[in-house]
Amino acid sequence: MTLADTTPTAAGTAAVEDVPAGRWQRIARIQALQIVLLLAVTVAIFTILRPGTFLTPFNIRGIVQNTSILAVLGVGMTFVIITGGIDLSIGSVLVFSGVVADKVMAAQGGQGWGTVLLGTLVACGCGLGWGLLNGVLVAKANVPPLIVTLGSLSAALGFAQILTKGLDLRDAPQTLVNKVGFGNIVGQVPTLAVVAGVVVLAGIVLLHRTRFGLHTYAIGSNAEAGRRVGLKVDRHLIKVYALAGLLAGFAGILNLGFFQSTTIGGQSNTALNVIAGVAIGGTSLFGGVGSVFGTVIGLFIPIVLQNGFIQINVQPFWQQVVVGAVLVTVVYVDQLRRAAAVGGRKHYRFPFLSHRGRRT
């Protein structure tokens, strides 16, 4: 017990202070800082090893562009994981949304902005639909999030293959490919990166500044406490999964522009890569803690590694090994922190494995 704990306050002389951060917050901040440092050190090493080619505008542009679509997905995933959930379906939802949007745009026949806008709306609508389905099954049917989204991962990809007979569509409109997928907004600033940046900023504001974000943390922290103070927990969960789905749909149209293909077979690891980025970025798989900023850093790390390894003639596959090790380390540290917080209790389960209300 500390001194302030034993200060008598009966006379109304309460000990309320505004010290900047508690222990948890400090640790959380330090963890985010560690990840930023890891990224900075990685960049520094590659820059020293390949001074002429690594930290060049051209290369940075490539790295940023490769991270953009994952960052859009990462925003939604961060919200979902903060609630104590998980969404394995986003890669399939991205493909499904891209397929439907491509078909609609092809049927409409244009190559201009009008067609791109139509496709964007269709893709977002598809994603929103899958997200709502996930959310309703998690919140109302009480099926564990891991199972619900494993189911929609399979089903969404199945529908995409049925619609295309398994063959990738490659007829995205010219404007989408040239202006969005490969275009620059100004100079060498890629459109994709700007779009992703806007989504990331909006995500940061939504999570950290609004009531929606606060309730997202509250539900991940203690859903029962939220329910007792009147939060509409089920409805909020549905909204969070809907947001993740919506962003996956939006990523679907970006993906179509970037790869000029529906990439049906190419997204099976997408959700896992995004989850890894979210976890590396300091968002706790136990729920209640996390940041969109951390997620973006966590997503940059694998892409910087891959890019750097190629440049220094190391097999790029090493990236996967390093990322795997970092991921396990980060989650291990998170578990230690959690064990300390719950008083040394070592047996706990990830909330997304359980149906709600049975959280340990």
């Binding site: 017990m1 500390t2 302030a4 704990d5 034993t6 200060t7 008598p8 306050t9 009966a10 109304g12 309460a14 000990a15 309320v16 202070e17 505004d18 010290v19 900047p20 951060a21 508690g22 222990r23 948890w24 917050q25 939504l206 500044r209 609004t210 009531r211 929606f212 606060l214 943390y217 509250a218 991940g220 922290s221 203690n222 029962e224 406490a225 939220g226 329910r227 007792r228 103070v229 009147g230 939060l231 209640g288 803690v289 917080a341």
Partner: protein, 252 residues
């Protein structure tokens, strides 16, 4: 004077377990009622029913003379009833301010508020005032409450309920985790809250605390209220005897 809140003939079954078997209860405005009884007597269950957290299997709740049906804690709160649950029901990752206002956030005025932006400054101010007024020891308004001591968490939970309560406040073993000084703070707080005209329902296993703050004492045994005493008219020995079922004032 009619009680501000009355429970009549409340029963509650959990499967085959009969947690409450026709329990009665009443509390007046500005009064501190202690609810005592052995473990498993049904005290927490009764509080959960009276605070809208759980429905009763049968029985009536009468609030300010009118029968009410509480379907959620929100219904109870709309009537001005607040609860400190035995498990506190705080969100451990949120700060004291966020917990204080969770579900009742103060929004910014104008379009920003409609977009969901909160007025953090006024919530900080309100929290600081509430904690100071109620003598809660909160050393850090920004840190997650999960990292704070049991006493601080208890103080936050109690201060939150006291700050919002208009009519009735339920405190389920609020001093169980506390040291001597913190316990004194909570007992002082109970007195202050009741002096404002709020009915306080206080569950405790500590007979000295009960004799210290309560105006009346209800004794529960096996799911029913078996005895009610005014503090002046009873003794710890009599209370302990009643808790073992040796005294029965009320017929079943």
């Amino acid at each position: 004077m009619a009680p501000i809140l009355e429970a009549r003939d409340i029963s509650k079954q959990y499967g085959h377990v009969e947690a409450l078997a026709g329990a009665n209860f009443d509390v007046n405005a500005g009064e501190v009622v202690a609810l005592i009884g052995d473990n498993g007597a049904g005290k927490s269950t009764l509080v959960r029913i009276m605070s809208g957290t759980e429905p009763a299997s049968s029985g009536q709740l009468i609030f300010e003379g009118k029968q009410v049906h509480l379907t959620s804690p929100v219904d109870a709160r709309k009537l001005g009833m607040e609860t400190v649950f035995q498990d506190l029901a705080l969100a451990p990752h949120l700060s004291p301010v966020q917990n204080m206002y969770l579900g009742r956030e103060v929004m910014r005025t104008g379009p920003l508020g409609r977009l969901g932006f909160m007025d953090s400054r006024s919530m900080r101010k309100g929290s600081r005032e509430a904690f100071e007024k109620l003598g809660a020891t909160v050393r850090n308004l920004n840190g997650p409450v999960g990292a704070m001591s049991g006493g601080q968490r208890q103080g936050i939970a109690v201060a939150r309920a006291a700050a919002w309560a208009q009519k009735v406040i339920f405190l389920d073993e609020p001093t169980a985790a506390l040291g001597v000084v913190q316990t004194k703070n909570v007992l002082d707080l109970i007195r202050r809250v009741s002096a404002e005209g709020i009915g306080v329902v206080f569950i405790s296993h500590s007979m000295p605390h009960v004799m210290d703050v309560a105006d009346r004492i209800h004794v529960m045994w096996r799911g029913r209220r078996v005895a009610t005493y005014r503090k002046e008219d009873t003794s710890m020995e009599q209370l302990v005897a009643a808790m073992t079922g040796a005294v029965t004032q009320e017929a079943s």
